[in-house]
Amino acid sequence: MRNNIRIYLVGAKTALASRMAYRADFFMSMLIMLLVEMAAPLITIMIYQNGATFPGWTMYEALLIQGVFLLGKGIAAPFFFGIVWNTIERVQNGTFDLLMIKPKSVLFMAIVTGFDAEDLGKLIGGTTLFTLALSRLPMPGLGEWLQFLLLFLLTLAVLFGYGLILAGLGIVWIGNFRVYQIFESITNFGLYPAAIFSKPLQTVITLVIPVAILGSVPATVLLGRPSAGTIGAVGVGLLFLLFSLGFWRWMLKKYTSVGG
């Protein structure tokens, strides 16, 4: 384990050094990563500025949901979600094989070589929005924080699961970077209070596909009014993680039988 952490750190350092070769472009990209993620909060602010609301939610409550969502993505994107583009790119140009001749699991190697330095901009963006929204809301108690942290861990685990599924798709669907859009379109629902969606859709994004867990579920706990179906969402999240691990292994097996 300690050895693996060391490998990961060396990998991250190498990726950062690679990116720093073009310093100006790196900082520009990082800034853009931050800005691009701010689209939904921007729309939300403009809606409220124009005198409209999501009924039952103040602007900062809505922004907190988006803050949690973007914080989760902000952690996932640089640290482990890089398995997606890394896998797609490597399968496409044939260098996926190079991960297989290393004495470590292919998944671990895909994470290590997929560290995405410029996505640290997303982390900065997510942290800023989260803190900003929280500072305008009553401070949650210790119990709420604890519940939130547990749920947020699951948020990250679910994001990892999505990463596995997209990367797995990248093995069989050669060179298709549009899998990102599939992910974004589905998880887009997680940026808003689940309550604004119709009942059937709420059930789908909470208890069928783990989307509410990415924003709404942990954020509402922090706001002191947990969403309906939180327990169910936790179960679905865990099942999803198991499923995605299985899916990745299945796709990897396909790769080793066809060889890209």
Binding site: N3, R6, I7, V10, G11, T14, A17, S18, R19, A21, Y22, N93, G94, T95, D97, L98, M100, I101, K102, P103, K104, S105, M109, V112, T256, S257, V258, G259
Partner: protein, 323 residues
């Protein structure tokens, strides 16, 4: 045997797909499976310290064999034992003991110096500091690299990069190293240096298995050649035998004082008749001995100049590929 391969087969299943609108719509409903037999039951053994070259035309099954031996691909049937491991089953433990250089897939990182990529491998293979330093310095010296490893990879020449690929692949001191077209696109000097390096490491006991299209790689490096074609081994022996496989022939160029005699004799094939006084031909020694040939020509036309050459290995290979 360090490596033993028995009856290895590999069948790929692919699907036909068309490109016209009609075919596109059709392919959504029914897909026609297509079976490709990449390996049709090959067997061979390689002893420790050998240097073996794999030859074969594109799509013959070379890279499939190499991928199976490196644990990247699993076969449809057959058995492989390398140092007591089954590559695709004990992959992680197994690959810690092998190295691989793929001529067209770089392990280096484009924007940073090779040495940073070496450090990543140091961590991955858990190479102790002292061993890492010694191995690296040793190889840097052998390959004549000096400060090159501290310059960003994108500034290096192709030859320098390839040399660094070798270091990258051998830092953890593997017992077996697989090379897939290691000299592709290199200039003569870089090729020579790399070949020298391979021979040097081979002397130290490292087993090398290489695939290549460059026959001079094989001639300079390999003592043993395995030729694969249509998923089968069509030849497995020494370079000298490979040459003889084409027959015991000599290539002769001759020019004479008087017009040449009639050379349409069994065992003699005129490949180029430049003039009445000059010709190039192939002589099959099993049918027509060399001294008899020289005597014949000298008596009839008086030899002015004559050269005798070994046949090109290409000729022998062409014969095998056409089978």
């Amino acid at each position: 045997m360090l490596i033993s391969v028995e009856n290895l087969t590999k069948v790929y299943k692919t699907y036909q797909r068309g490109s016209s609108f009609k075919e596109t719509v059709k392919s959504l409903l029914v897909r026609k499976p297509l079976y490709v037999h990449a390996l049709k039951g090959i067997s061979f053994g390689i002893a420790a310290g050998e240097l073996v070259g794999f030859l074969g035309p594109n799509g013959a099954g070379k890279s499939t064999t190499l991928k199976i031996l490196t644990g990247i691909l699993y076969p449809s049937s057959g058995a492989v034992d390398v140092m007591g491991y089954t590559p695709w089953r004990d992959r992680k433990k197994y690959v810690a003991k092998i190295g691989a250089v793929f001529g067209q897939k770089s392990q280096l990182l484009w924007d940073i110096p090779p040495i940073d990529a070496f450090y990543l491998n140091k961590a991955i293979y858990a190479i102790p500091d002292r061993v890492f330093k010694r191995t690296m310095e040793n190889m840097v010296e052998l390959l004549d690299l000096k400060d090159v490893i501290r310059k960003p990879t994108r500034q290096l020449s192709l030859g320098e990069r390839m040399k660094c690929e070798f270091i990258m692949a051998m830092l953890h001191q593997p017992e077996i190293v697989f090379l897939d077209e290691p000299t592709i696109g290199l200039d003569v000097i870089a090729k020579d240096k790399i070949r020298e390096f391979i021979l040097e490491m081979n002397k130290k006991g490292v087993t090398f298995i290489l695939t290549t299209h460059d026959l001079s790689d094989i001639e300079h490096l390999a003592r043993r050649v395995i030729v694969v074609n249509h998923g089968e081994i069509v030849f497995d022996d020494s370079i000298a035998t490979l040459r003889r496989h084409w027959g015991e022939k000599k290539i002769i160029a001759v020019s004479t004082v008087h017009p040449l005699p009639d050379l349409t004799l069994p065992g003699i094939t005129v490949t180029k008749r430049i003039s009445d006084y000059q010709a190039e031909l192939e002589l099959d020694l099993a049918v027509y001995e060399l001294n008899k040939f020289i005597a014949l020509v000298n008596k009839a036309s008086t030899i002015r100049d004559l050269s005798v050459q070994e046949p090109q290995i290409e000729e022998a290979i062409k014969v095998l590929y056409k089978k």
